[in-house]
């Protein structure tokens, strides 16, 4: 089984890297870019066959290590 975890900054948290990416895109002529937010994608290879168990374990991993609840949110996809 694979888990895909998207970690992204919460709304309201300043993202200097995202702002730099948006600025670079506008400099290249992509004037439609209003804002950019930069996050992370983490893929895990998991043993086991129960998707519900996997999801709840991965949720625990997100809370304990993979995300920082002060600044980040996350979403989990099990496939």
């Amino acid at each position: 089984m694979k888990a895909k975890i998207h970690v992204y900054l919460k709304p309201g948290v300043l993202d200097p890297q995202g702002a730099a990416v948006a600025g670079a895109l506008r400099n290249m002529g992509y004037d439609e870019v209003e804002d950019a937010r930069q996050g992370k994608l983490i893929e895990l290879d998991l043993t086991g066959e129960n998707a519900d168990t996997a999801k709840s374990r991965v949720d625990e991993m997100c809370q304990k290590l993979l995300s920082n609840p002060v600044i980040e949110s996350y979403s989990i996809e099990i496939a």
Partner: protein, 220 residues
């Protein structure tokens, strides 16, 4: 006072921390590898040094804050004993939950390495009693992720309770309310981005960091 310096893979200010403590106390601190699970018997002061633990992978300080020694450090802090985290050490303290908020990428996106003016905004902590309320300290900074963030309620609460101990004279990194260093509510855990351990010798860029170690280790 018996001291310990925690050493992680990627710590690079552990020797400076050792020398600063040894200079003030006349005793060598124990150097404690992160895979240990206990602090040496009788340890009072714990310092978490700067560096790039685990290569700053995932988030600065994230992996170090979950390493084997940290439950012992967290339990030690809970007894009211003094804990100081500098630079990466500050990041490790926020990641471990010992201090509120988080340290984000510098607003200017560049690594900043300079001597920075600081003011002491609370001279009544056990870390700053010998400074009182000085406003013109010069202490070096060297970091890429020192942009302090916390929500407005947390910032207001910390301001109200005197938990902001150091502020930048000229904000180098976008840090909220110019915050350079904070203590926890109990006042026994200090995290700061500037490096007091690099400012203890006149031949090496000044001695403005010395009073921090003297406040703490001289008053024990």
């Amino acid at each position: 006072m018996k001291s310990a310096v925690i050493v992680f893979p990627g710590s690079n200010c552990d020797r400076d921390a050792h020398d600063a403590i040894a200079r003030v106390t006349g005793e060598n601190p124990a150097m404690v590898w992160h895979q240990e699970t206990e602090l040496p018997d009788g340890t009072e002061f714990v310092m978490i040094p700067g560096g790039f633990s685990y290569g700053d992978y995932l988030r600065c300080g994230a992996m170090a804050s979950r390493s084997s020694i940290m439950p012992a450090v967290i339990a030690h802090a809970a007894t009211g004993a003094p804990v100081l985290g500098v630079c990466n050490g500050f990041q490790i303290l926020t990641e471990s939950g010992l201090l509120p908020g988080s340290l984000m990428r510098n607003a200017g996106l560049t690594f900043v390495c300079e001597r920075t003016p600081l003011s002491v905004t609370n001279g009544n902590t056990r870390f700053t009693s010998r400074y009182q309320a000085e406003t013109d300290l010069i202490i070096p900074i060297a970091h890429h992720d020192g942009n302090y963030f916390a929500d407005a309620d947390t910032l207001d609460r910390m301001d109200g309770e005197g938990q902001v101990v150091f502020r930048y004279g000229q904000n180098p990194n976008g840090s909220a309310r110019d915050i350079a260093g904070i203590v926890n509510e109990q006042g026994n855990v200090l995290g700061m981005m500037p490096h007091p351990e690099r400012a203890i010798d006149a031949k090496h860029g000044g001695t403005d960091g010395l009073a921090l170690f003297e406040s703490l280790l001289g008053s024990a």
